[in-house]
Amino acid sequence: MPSPALLKRLLALPPSLRRSFWSSSATAAPAGKPDIYDVVCVGGGPAGLSFVSALQSHPATRALKVALIDSQDLTTSRTANDAEKYSNRCSSLTPSSLRFLEGIGAWEKAREERTQAYHAMDVWDGVSGSKIHFDMVDKQSHGVLDSIAEMVPGSRFQASRRKYETSAEDGVVATMCENSNLTAALLQRLKDFGAGEQLAQVQMWDKTKVDSIDLGPEAVDEKSLDLSQWPIVTTQHGQIAARLLVGADGANSPVRQFAGIPSHGWDYNQHGLVATLHLDHPFTASELRTAYQRFLPTGPIALLPLPDNKASLVWSTNPQHAARLKQLSPSDFTATVNAAFRLMPVDINYMLTPSASNQAEEFAWREPATPASSTGLPSPFPRITGVQEGTVASFPLRMRHADTYTGHRLALIGDAAHTIHPLAGQGLNLGLADAEALATQLAYGMEHGMDIGSCWCLDGYNSERWAANNAMIGVVDKLKKVYSAGSGPVVWGRSLGLEVIDRLGAVKGAFMGAAAGTR
């Protein structure tokens, strides 16, 4: 019991501080009472880990007491060391995501030799063959005036721009990175925080299942805490109360279910099939690489570069085709993937009917009969020579968006808040942007003396991210629908649109800027 003098001084404090005095003294409460944490993050995926790292790297939020709970084993590095083997779960990180990861000091921990930047992108229509090419030159052109300036005889604009282009550090569209590589880098970063200058502030509970999330008990007497508005997370390590509970726990988020936040959307009746592929010739690290995407009526298929002669495949297709693809022998699978980039949709559909067999022979027959000019195949397109064993997997695709990202003492980030079609490679990037925005918001709240679990503090996060994510999810959803048409006016319209945009450098640059997350 404090002395009367101390009590008097305490009562002179403003109410919020007075409360925090009591609560911090309550953390030393005897066993049986929940431990109180400032931030409890459920889910140790890229979004959750980067959010915690961002809190740690900002001076205002560094001192927060943070717990991170994940059901999987996070301690072992999941990056394979074999340079010949790549995980099939890869993501393309946009420049703005990379900037964030560099800012929190995580990117330098990533194994750079296993990441691959690409500098251009070829996208083409599987039905009409109309195509669009993206590279950094488009992004750097600023509009019509530039084009006019270029045309003036004797203008030195070109020369100066060329200088600008080479001085721009990369010209990278996006960087491919295995999810395991990113997770390992973020974990390493967190470990270094603990070992370094500060105390280990982050309580990591991996291999820990969240048994339940409830609201806490009401105060039994005037000395105990009223936790009736606080989420209490029960795990095998006991109960912890969260000033702010962050749900980074994936699409079926238990945190979102606890909060009763509805998540609307639809299933696409498509599966995303992933695999790690081998290409016909190796690339050196300094070579410029290109990502390819072809829109087939059954769904887009993308070939994303990995170091050396490896590439990552993301093929969205109907569940029957995905199931058939997983049954194929490696040589037939390789032939079918080659076919999906090079042949007409009718051939691909035929090769994936249950009765069709010997896809390799079928491809060998159809390829010479299908001139590249008729399918819109980009001219230096690599040939796929093989598939890494055991990497063919698929998962159902859906679109979901939570009605709100925040509640009382609760925030959702990453897949818990939204699920998006992979055709633009935006899922992880939106999650990282959420993590960055929430961490920035909490830092703002700490600097201004807010309760970080209150709506006062969290509303800023919701308003910053919800509309932006909704726009991206909407655009990707419409793209998916427009490209599902196999014939007719929709195909003519989209082909015309693509051809027009391909000729308008500035418009194309704006699209790229939006996809790269530049604000």
Partner: protein, 288 residues
């Protein structure tokens, strides 16, 4: 043939161009190399002129099958022959045909053997039809104006199997029967030439035209739409199949026999005429 219009000067000029540009100057002076044996690459203007010219030419003289063939090729692109190829690629038998690329000629089809097949088989009907109409499997021209080799084959196949369509429907090669077949093929293959050929309906006599619109056109359109893609029939393998079985499998009804109708009408007319003459003679004799 001797290229008469090329003056040495202009040829020299074209040759003086850099190689990339030279190949781009696609003109009478400089055609790209053929994509397959017998291929004649055409520019858009040439293709249009060919379509117009062959359309009017074949309307003036419907027996110019070379003009009808040229009309078919000039109007097949874009879309139509590609659609037909897609329809073949969707079907296992159609794919097999495209893979094997069988050709129908008197060498590959022995008429002797076909005539010995049992009654009412496809082969027998085909041979009988050829004999009745006095044509041979070799009367079909080679495709030359379609650029893609495979699409050219599709057109060739359509042309060569046209006679089988006659055979299983039993429609004769006279204009009226030909028009019914063309209408059927239009509904079935959507090739524009088949629809354009229907303009020849102006050449029919009024009674024939009435019959065409009342009997054969409805039959052709409903059956053409209902039936499977006839281009996907591997005719070489169906020679011993019963015609009725194949027709049922494809979903085609047998049209009324045109020759029979015409014969009946002719007989009727003859009888009427005989009766009239007899009456006249009788009237003259009796002095009424």
């Amino acid at each position: 043939m001797k290229p008469t219009t090329i003056s040495p000067l202009s040829l020299k000029r074209v040759l003086a161009l850099p190689p990339q540009l030279r190949s781009r100057t696609f003109s009478i002076l400089n055609r790209p190399p053929p994509n397959y044996a017998g291929h004649v690459p055409l520019t858009l203007v040439e293709r249009g002129a060919l379509a117009l010219g062959s359309a009017f030419g074949s309307l003036r003289n419907p027996h110019r099958h070379d003009l009808i063939a040229a009309l078919g090729e000039a109007t097949a692109k874009p879309y139509f022959v590609s659609r037909l190829r897609r329809a073949m690629l969707e079907n296992p038998t159609g794919r097999r045909i495209l893979k094997d690329q069988p050709r129908i000629s008197s060498q590959t089809m022995s008429l002797e053997k076909l005539r010995q097949l049992p009654d009412n088989t496809v082969g027998r009907a085909y041979a009988a039809w050829l004999d009745r109409e006095g044509v041979t499997p070799d009367t079909r021209d080679a495709v030359k104006y379609i650029d893609d080799p495979e699409e050219a084959y599709v057109m060739q196949r359509y042309r060569e199997t046209h006679d089988f369509t006659h055979a299983i429907t039993g429609l004769p090669v006279i204009i009226e029967g030909e028009l019914a077949i063309k209408a059927f093929e239009f509904a079935n293959t959507v090739l524009p030439m088949t629809a354009l050929s229907l303009v020849a309906v102006v050449r029919l006599k009024p009674i024939e035209r009435k019959r065409f619109f009342e009997t054969y056109l409805p039959w052709a359109l409903s059956n053409g739409l209902k039936a499977e893609e006839v281009v996907n029939v591997y005719w070489e393998e169906e020679l011993a199949t019963d015609v009725d079985v194949l027709r049922r499998r494809l979903g085609i009804e047998k049209p009324p026999d045109l020759r029979e109708i015409r014969q009946v009408l002719k007989d009727q007319k003859k009888a009427e005429k005989a009766a009239r003459e007899a009456r006249e003679r009788l009237g003259a004799a009796t002095g009424v």
